[in-house]
């Protein structure tokens, strides 16, 4: 089977930095795969996601997503990727309703000039319903709690009906109960729609419960690509101080 996402010897460096944020990364994901990316702070996890969706340019290697060269066809690729950024918080006065923000997820697919149709709005409301935030649809997003805002961003990614989901710490502002629920919901949507899903997390327990593949990163490199239990054993062995700080 052809991989949906393929990175060959990829290195990305931020403007003004000498050291690459990720280096010599070789990875491939098949359709419907569900993987977690873990690692200490500054390991390159967020950079990896932003490199896959073409938000960051690479200086070495090749990335193809959905059989398209991301460096050339970034916009087309991004129309098929549901992305949730890390720690997305908006100003309390932001003049946007939660539904507006969820609907924005579909704008790239609608194309220039076209207006959102009734179907687009229904998809957005459906995504909010799945995340149990339908009643917040008309509330200004700035007035929602951090957890609610995070659910809005997840709904935005789902409303897009993507082929790939890239989620960067999507549960960080959620309470433990919501965390379990939404993690299960994402796993269910991914399996129903055969989505390739990559989640960056610090929550090792969540990872062990819900995924089939764990990618461990440190200092911009992939240091393990294995089963979650194996990854947990490695983390314990290497004793990354950062993990202990986040997981008690």
């Amino acid at each position: 089977m052809e991989p949906i996402i393929e990175l060959r010897d990829v290195s990305t460096v931020y403007e003004g930095e000498k050291r690459p944020a990720i280096r010599d990364v070789n990875l491939a994901f098949e359709g419907g795969e569900f993987a977690y990316v873990i690692g200490p702070n500054a390991a390159g996890k967020t950079t990896l996601l932003e490199t896959i969706n073409g938000l960051l340019p690479i200086f070495k290697g090749h990335i193809s997503v959905l059989n398209l060269d991301v460096q050339k066809y970034g916009r087309e690729v991004r129309c098929q990727i549901g992305y949730v950024p890390q720690d997305f918080m908006v100003d309390p006065g932001e003049p946007y309703a939660a539904l507006d923000v969820v609907l924005m997820g579909r704008y790239g697919k609608i194309g220039v000039i076209g207006m959102p149709s009734k179907e687009d709005k229904e998809k957005a409301i459906e995504a909010m319903r799945l995340l149990e935030i339908e009643d917040l649809a008309n509330k200004p997003i700035g007035k929602l709690s951090g957890g609610q805002q995070q659910k809005v961003m997840i709904a935005r990614a789902i409303a897009k009906e993507p082929k790939i989901l890239l989620l960067d710490e999507p549960f960080s502002n959620l309470d433990p109960e919501s965390r379990g629920k939404i993690s299960k919901l994402i796993a269910q949507i991914s399996s129903e729609h055969n989505l390739t899903t990559i989640i960056v997390t610090h929550d090792l327990r969540q990872m062990a419960e819900s995924c089939s593949r764990a990618i461990v990163m440190n200092s911009g490199r992939i240091i393990a690509d294995c089963e979650p239990r194996e990854a947990l054993a490695l983390i314990e062995k290497w004793n990354f101080s950062d993990f202990w700080r986040h997981n008690g």
Partner: protein, 275 residues
């Protein structure tokens, strides 16, 4: 009012209305897209253009528009190419244009700052011609049509440019387009408020409207209304007290902003929550 019987003041009043509407409208995008330095950078490039026009004995408004348009077209791509914030490039363009303006002024020392160039710097509402009004009405119409056509893209970029890009929207082209519209608006507004105060028209009405409402679609309507009201009130204040119209407009729009901050329902709620 006796003044309004004269065509010159009728034109001036109409100019106030359209410049206020336009500044208020474009200002929402300038504020929300964080293009804060655009206003003063553009006003000074227009000033440099006007100075060149005077030195070459060409219509200063025309050269002001050309200079603003060239600066506007240059700023966005230059910032992206150099991977620098737009604010950095606009600040550099600001100093470059000021330097050019003073060099151009030395080419026409007999005219100096007391002439047409000064009117570009301080504003001279009564010099608004029918042709200026036609330009203003055309720009208002084009701006409204473009905003209507690309509302979806502008709406999401104003919320968060990076997320819009992640959703597959070509944000670059729309940001460049807004910088360009802001540049032309500034150039056409010079006769009313002058280069030194023109950015008050871009920032104050939009910042005031943002204090009241939670819906961007309503803010897009309210901000031009505040802009037009500031200009009309400034115009009459200027006539009554015989002081420069640009200063009156800037003072009144600043006063409206201060009152908006005090009355803002958004802030009151936040203060109550914090208290």
């Amino acid at each position: 009012m006796i003044y309004l019987e004269y065509a010159i003041f009728q034109r001036a009043l109409l100019g106030c209305v359209f410049i206020g509407l336009l500044g208020g409208l474009i200002g929402v995008f300038v504020v929300k897209m964080r293009l804060s330095t655009i206003g003063y950078s553009m006003s000074h490039s227009a000033f440099a253009g006007a100075a060149l026009g005077v030195a070459l004995s060409v219509d200063p408004l025309l050269t002001a528009i050309v200079f603003s348009a060239v600066t506007a077209v240059f700023i966005g791509p230059a910032a992206d190419k150099a991977r620098l914030p737009i604010d950095t490039i606009t600040s550099i363009a600001f100093s470059l244009n000021m330097a050019l303006a003073f060099i151009f002024l030395t080419f026409s020392p007999q005219i100096g700052l007391s002439s047409e160039v000064a009117s570009v710097l301080w504003g001279s509402i009564v010099s608004i011609t029918n042709r200026d009004l036609v330009y203003l009405i055309a720009l208002c119409s084009i701006t409204l049509a473009l905003i209507y056509l690309f509302w979806k893209e502008l709406f999401t970029i104003m919320f968060d440019r990076k997320m819009a890009e992640a959703d597959g929207v070509n944000t670059k082209i729309f940001v460049y387009f807004m910088i360009f519209l802001a540049g032309i608006t500034v150039a056409l507004s010079l006769k009313l408020v002058g280069g030194l105060l023109v950015y008050a028209l871009l920032f104050n009405p939009a910042s005031s409207a943002l204090q009241y409402l939670h819906d961007m679609r309503k803010i897009i309507f309210l901000s031009p209304i505040i802009g037009a009201a500031s200009c009309i009130a400034g115009f009459f204040t200027s006539l009554i007290f015989d002081i420069p119209v640009g200063s009156c407009i800037a003072l009144i729009s600043t006063l409206i902003f201060a009152v908006s901050v005090i009355l803002s329902p958004k802030r009151r709620r936040r203060w109550r929550n914090e208290g």
